[in-house]
């Protein structure tokens, strides 16, 4: 017993044990990603900023200006202006803005949207929105549909 303890001390066995753990972990695959160059993969339900979309088949406007999303938004960041359609059926959008500065990514606006199953407003996978002035966060309808251009700050 004593010899064993002695050998353990002389041969620094415990140190090597620790080193072995370090060595093992050296060769494990990385779980981090080099962010600006590559990004992680998102699950389909990922909630980025809310955006608008058109009918993917016909290319028509989906939003029927029911204002339900505006009513439920807890931060009051959606504002919609609409008018009666000239043919008298329903309403059409004049403007639809979301203030991304205040959006809290809660996803509540998608729930009541009546144009099921493809809701007019949806949580996109966009999230890269660093900017220098606040006004650039007030996003108008065109940008909501086409997506905001992503500024690349790194080279």
């Amino acid at each position: 017993m004593k010899i064993q303890a002695f050998l353990q001390k002389v041969l620094l066995l415990e140190l090597w044990q620790g080193m072995w753990v370090t060595l093992k972990n050296q060769f494990r695959p990385h779980i981090t990603v080099e962010y600006p160059k590559e990004t992680v993969e998102f699950p389909p339900r990922f909630r980025g900023v809310p955006r608008l979309r058109k009918d993917p088949q016909t290319g028509e406007e989906l939003c029927v200006s029911c204002l339900l999303c505006e009513a439920i938004c807890p931060t009051e960041c959606i504002s919609i202006v609409s008018e009666k359609r000239p043919d008298g059926k329903g309403k059409q959008l004049i403007s639809f803005t979301i203030n991304y500065e205040r959006c809290c990514f809660c996803g509540l606006c998608v729930d009541p949207c009546p144009t099921k199953p493809i809701t007019a407003i949806y949580m996109s996978h966009d999230y890269e929105f660093a900017g220098f002035d606040r006004d650039s966060y007030v996003t108008a309808r065109e940008e909501l549909v086409d997506g905001k251009p992503v500024k690349i700050y790194t080279s």
Partner: protein
């Protein structure tokens, strides 16, 4: 001999060990703490006031931001309170999924606690190990509801979505691998001489004092009181699962560590049972489009990772709550801090803050 002078030392609001913006005014005699004044409110956002001007749907995202380390529980407690207020029954499947996600959240929250607590005391490695497993959990939550911290995952009356395909298998996989991972933390800490020295006998809170101070959760159970809302007032479907309430004996920081470690194992047990018993069916119950509870008031509690999480809603028959009060466990538990650190060393204050497991968003609301 030497003459000592009492000295006021300010700790925080920006201090890495206070887990947020907590300020302590310590009155020191040498290195011994003789009195503590806890100053909070640096993160006060007036959520209770805000809720009075929001309708019942809109409040849920606000509850996320209270205890952002365990937002699932804030959601759960809130929706259950409104359901109780209106007498809504929730479909079985939704209840089971709620239990699964909530218990996973408890594990995730305890992992944050373990990692940061160990980091405060000086064990760096545990932090990385814990966050490795928490990452798996956050990925699961992200796949389930689309967010990693502020979930907004439930709705009044059920769930907005069913679980995504393949999700339950991923949870099963986690349940399988996690005991092995927990073994690693055990090896690193449970018999670690430094860990024992820093936690044994530190921050003693006896059962009588704990109850008097309103302390709940693992801090109360470590004092030997087996009080758990999940057993005392089973909410959701908790009465169908077998699990134990771990309790401690020595009322110190080390026992609180053991209790929380055991709680993670028990949570895993609940998740396993819920997965096995997961019924098929709808996930959204019958709920009116506009939530308008009748006149009345309800106080409902759930067992969060930090303790008893209470919600008090007064309804006047409008679509907004008349008064909303969050009884946050961190706020109440923090009150016991001056009592726990009295007579101990400054370095132990750090350990005691860690063991109370406070989240300042929850304290200040």
């Amino acid at each position: 001999m030497f003459r000592t002078e009492m000295m006021d030392i300010n700790m925080g609001p920006q201090h890495p060990s206070t887990h947020g913006v907590l300020r302590l005014k310590l009155l020191l005699d040498g290195e011994t703490v003789t009195d503590t004044d806890v100053l909070i409110g640096y993160l006060h956002r007036g959520v209770e006031k805000l809720c009075e001007s929001k309708n019942y749907h809109m409040i849920e995202p606000y509850t996320d931001r209270l205890d952002y380390v365990a937002a699932m529980y804030e959601n759960l407690g809130y929706v259950e309170t409104v359901e109780k207020l209106m007498g809504i029954t929730v479909p079985e499947r939704a209840e089971y999924i709620r239990v699964i996600t909530a218990e996973l959240q408890r594990i995730a929250s305890h992992l944050v606690w373990l990692g940061t607590h160990a980091l405060d005391i000086g064990a760096m490695t545990v932090f990385f190990y814990c966050f490795r497993e928490r990452e798996i959990l956050l990925d699961l939550f992200e796949a389930f509801c689309g967010a990693r911290l502020t979930y907004n995952a439930y709705r009044i009356g059920g769930l907005p979505w069913d679980v995504p395909p393949g999700w339950t298998d991923r949870v099963r996989h986690f349940v399988k691998i996690f005991p092995g991972r927990q073994q690693e933390y055990d090896t690193l800490l449970t018999k670690n001489r430094i860990w024992l020295g820093r936690t044994k006998g530190v921050g003693i809170l006896k059962a009588g004092d704990a109850i008097d101070f309103g302390v709940s959760g693992p801090c109360l159970r470590a004092a030997g009181v087996s009080y758990d809302v999940r057993k005392a007032h089973p909410y959701s479907v908790y009465d169908r699962f077998l699990f134990d309430i771990p309790t401690g004996e020595n009322c110190d920081t080390y026992d609180r560590y053991l209790v929380r470690m055991e709680e993670m194992r028990q949570s895993l047990r609940i998740v396993q049972q819920a997965l096995d018993g997961l019924p098929a069916g709808e996930v959204m119950g019958k709920v009116p489009k506009r939530i308008k509870p009748p006149v009345g008031e309800v106080y409902h509690t759930v067992e969060g990772p930090r303790g008893e999480l209470g919600f008090y809603i007064v309804s006047q028959g409008e679509d907004k709550p008349y008064r909303m009060r969050f009884r946050s466990p961190s706020f109440v538990n923090l009150q016991a801090l001056p009592h726990m650190v009295k007579g101990s060393l400054v370095a132990d204050v750090v350990a005691v803050i860690g063991t109370l497991d406070i989240v300042l968003g929850d304290v200040d609301r």
